[in-house]
């Protein structure tokens, strides 16, 4: 049981740090949140830089253009890029974390040759067409219909929460190909070109206003059968491959950010006046800060345990649901704590007051993230679904239905 990094791992970290220090000053500032074409350009330009430096697809197999890094190196990569303030994966998320790994695992040679390199280079963006108005937590009840017509599927229906649909080139699409089969047995996984005729993409106005989510309407959209990944009606199994990728590493950068945010909050609390003292003189606040710090330290240790398990056995182990449950709830509490320190400066999404410049943070960013964090306990399996997973798959309790 060891938390120390090997000389090779330290070497990897140092090389990455040096590269980040060289390249980050050349990266242009983040575009406005609602300027999606600019965000696509920004995120894909960063992906191109990673590609050219050999860091794209860090954990993808070498045979498919990735770096083939170990899980520990992958962790170091996520930690260092976050600490250095590098751009987030952003619009590349679905391609790099869902669609690409699914094609690696389940795609044909032609599909891999066509799609993997453009994802790694940041040339093409993917979106995720899974959820529907009637299929959220119960994803397998999806009803968007695909009917075979010669060498095409003809798709009609309605997708919801399609991430990055307005800027995407392709969509990983789940459709119902056999409405008479049990719900898990009649689903097929298709690659949908987003310029297909018959598609209508409408951005969703979330509680943040603009967001990466859209709803997508399908009016007899024709998709070649060669775009099918896996067998017809075997899409649920193919999807599970994708989701296991999503649950592996999704929160690492945010945990690093949360630990830093806790210490920034301490610095800020020491300068804020509350009643006749500073906010930091309030033992109640200090204890809540200490408690959250303990939680994030433990979550970071849990990440390292999962990574060690992945490295030893090839699978991340049972920790993913535990991590998601506790992290997302801790993150929401952290944002509430930040709001306690900010008090009325937490009432606007544009910066108020000068306090936040102390730590290089802006009050507006916080408020934004406080709102955004509401989605964490819902997206990628709600906290309630995670508790079902823990109860049923880990503890062996029977299903309710």
């Amino acid at each position: 049981m060891d938390l120390r990094y090997s000389p090779e791992e330290q070497q990897f970290r140092h090389e990455l740090r040096d590269w980040l220090a060289r390249v980050l000053p050349t990266v242009p500032p983040k575009p406005a949140a609602d300027d999606w074409p600019a965000r696509r350009a920004h995120d894909t330009a960063w992906q191109r830089l990673l590609f050219e430096a050999g860091y794209a697809g860090i954990n993808w197999p070498r045979d498919y253009g990735g770096r083939g890094a170990t899980p520990t190196e992958h962790l170091i990569f996520l930690e260092e890029t976050e600490r250095a303030g590098a751009p987030y994966v952003g619009v590349n998320f679905v391609g790099l974390l869902h669609a690409g790994p699914t094609l690696v695992a389940e795609g044909t040679d032609e599909q891999r040759a066509r799609h993997l390199r453009p994802i790694l280079r940041g040339d093409e963006v993917w979106c995720q067409g899974f959820s529907e108005p009637g299929a959220g937590s119960d994803l397998a009840s999806l009803r968007t219909r695909a009917v075979r017509d010669g060498d095409h599927y003809v798709v009609s229906g309605h997708k919801l929460w399609t991430s990055y649909a307005t800027v995407a080139d392709h969509c990983e699409l789940l459709v119902r190909t056999d409405p008479d089969a049990p719900k898990h047995k009649g689903i097929t996984w298709l690659i949908l070109p987003m310029d297909s005729p018959g598609l209508d993409v409408r951005p969703i106005e979330t509680v943040l206003g603009s967001s990466e989510f859209s709803e997508v309407y399908f009016d007899d959209v024709r998709i070649p059968v060669t775009n099918r990944v896996g067998e017809e009606n075997d899409g649920w199994r193919v999807t599970m491959v994708t989701l296991s990728f999503e649950r592996g590493t999704a929160w690492v950068d945010q945990i690093v950010d949360s630990m830093r945010l806790v210490t920034d909050l301490v610095a800020i609390a020491k300068t804020v006046t509350r009643r006749s003292a500073t906010a930091w003189d309030d033992v109640g606040l200090r204890r809540d800060v200490g408690h959250l710090a303990a939680e994030f330290d433990a979550l970071w240790a849990l990440v390292k345990r999962g990574v060690s398990q992945a490295q030893a056995t090839g699978v991340p182990g049972v920790g993913a649901s535990v991590l998601k449950l506790r992290y997302t709830e801790a993150r929401q509490r952290l944002m509430d704590l930040a709001a306690r320190v900010l008090e009325r400066a937490a009432l606007s999404r544009t910066d108020i007051g000068a306090l936040w410049s102390l730590s290089g943070r802006h009050s507006g960013e916080f408020v934004e993230e406080r709102i955004n964090s509401l989605s964490y306990t819902i997206a990628a399996g709600t906290s309630q679904i995670q508790r079902n997973i823990v109860g049923e798959r880990i503890l062996g309790l029977p299903r309710e239905r």
């Binding site: 049981m1 120390r4 520990t72 200090r286 200490g290 330290d297 398990q309 309630q384 079902n388």
Partner: protein, 306 residues
């Protein structure tokens, strides 16, 4: 980085678990302190893991988790800590007293060969100590005595030694709490799989299932925090020990006490009976939560280290 117990560590942990399953099954628990078991644990080297067998805190927390899982009665942590102190007479149980805590309560005085007194200026070992029995200790398996004054003993270390003992004591107590938290989860899950109401096992209801899931999650997070703290204290090249131990103790206290309540809840009316052993685990967790710093103390200490 390889943050998983090694095969040797797992084997050690399994060995202690098997020993306790054989020698101290749940049916024996209401009997309280068991001198024969204590002698066997001593002979196995449980209290000398570090100071006699040369193993680290990483191994020690794995063993202490098992002691917690079996709810072994007795002054486990103080006896372990005393093994490394000079001038200790005998090898029997050692009690522990923190003179900064009021009232001056000492657990297991009746069996303690000596008492480790954690003075800020330096730890002392005190010989036979007397006190008045506390009539109804909340943990019936951990008898308490109230002392009129802090006993005098011989000095066995300096102020730094007290700091170190408090830290190691907090870590090992946290490991016991993790064991309690995990066993409380197992007891609840086992019950939820067999108890039927409304024509099906209650573990199939989400309201019950989610209680169990949260118990598991609490115990897992506390366990990983304890392991990280042990590895960090074992590593002479880092200064993160105090922070990680504080976090581990507070998360482990929370896991054990909240899981105790949840386990009683899952057991329903049976959980409120003396016959079902869940209450012993919860009451032990309440005792440990007051030892080597409360969760509140550690939260505040941790905040000041940020």
């Amino acid at each position: 980085m390889h943050f998983l117990p090694t095969d040797d560590q797992l084997e050690l942990q399994r060995g202690v678990r098997d020993l306790l399953a054989a020698k101290f099954p749940l049916e024996r628990l209401p009997g309280g302190y068991d001198a024969g078991l204590w002698a066997e644990l001593t002979a196995t080297g449980v209290f000398g893991l570090r100071d006699e067998l040369g193993l680290g805190l990483a191994e020690s927390v794995l063993v202490f988790e098992e002691l917690g899982r079996a709810c072994v009665p007795g002054p486990l942590v103080a006896t372990f800590l005393a093994a490394g102190l000079p001038g200790r007479a005998g090898s029997g149980p050692v009690g522990m007293l923190d003179p900064a805590q009021a009232p001056l309560l000492l657990a297991h005085l009746g069996i303690a060969e000596s008492v480790l007194v954690l003075h800020e200026a330096g730890p002392q070992l005190a010989g036979p100590v007397s006190g008045a029995p506390v009539p109804e200790p909340v943990d019936p398996l951990s008898p308490l005595h109230e002392l009129a004054a802090t006993p005098d003993g011989h000095v066995v270390g300096d102020a730094d030694a007290t700091v170190r003992l408090r830290r190691e004591g907090a870590l090992l107590t946290a490991a016991l709490q993790v064991g309690l938290a995990a066993r409380l989860t197992d007891l609840a899950v086992d019950y939820a799989k067999t108890r039927e109401q409304f024509g099906r096992v209650i573990g199939s209801f989400q309201a019950v299932k989610h209680l169990c899931a949260d118990m598991f999650v609490r115990a897992e997070l506390a366990r990983v925090a304890v392991h990280a703290a042990a590895v960090t204290l074992d590593d002479p090249d880092t200064t993160d020990g105090p922070r990680t131990v504080a976090g581990a103790k507070l998360l482990a206290d929370e896991a054990a006490t909240v899981n105790g309540r949840s386990s009683v809840q899952v057991h329903g009316g049976m959980g409120f009976t003396w016959e079902v052993p869940v209450h012993f685990f919860l009451k032990r967790a309440w005792l440990h939560a007051t030892e080597f710093g409360t969760a509140e103390d550690h939260a505040e200490d941790l905040a000041l280290l940020l």
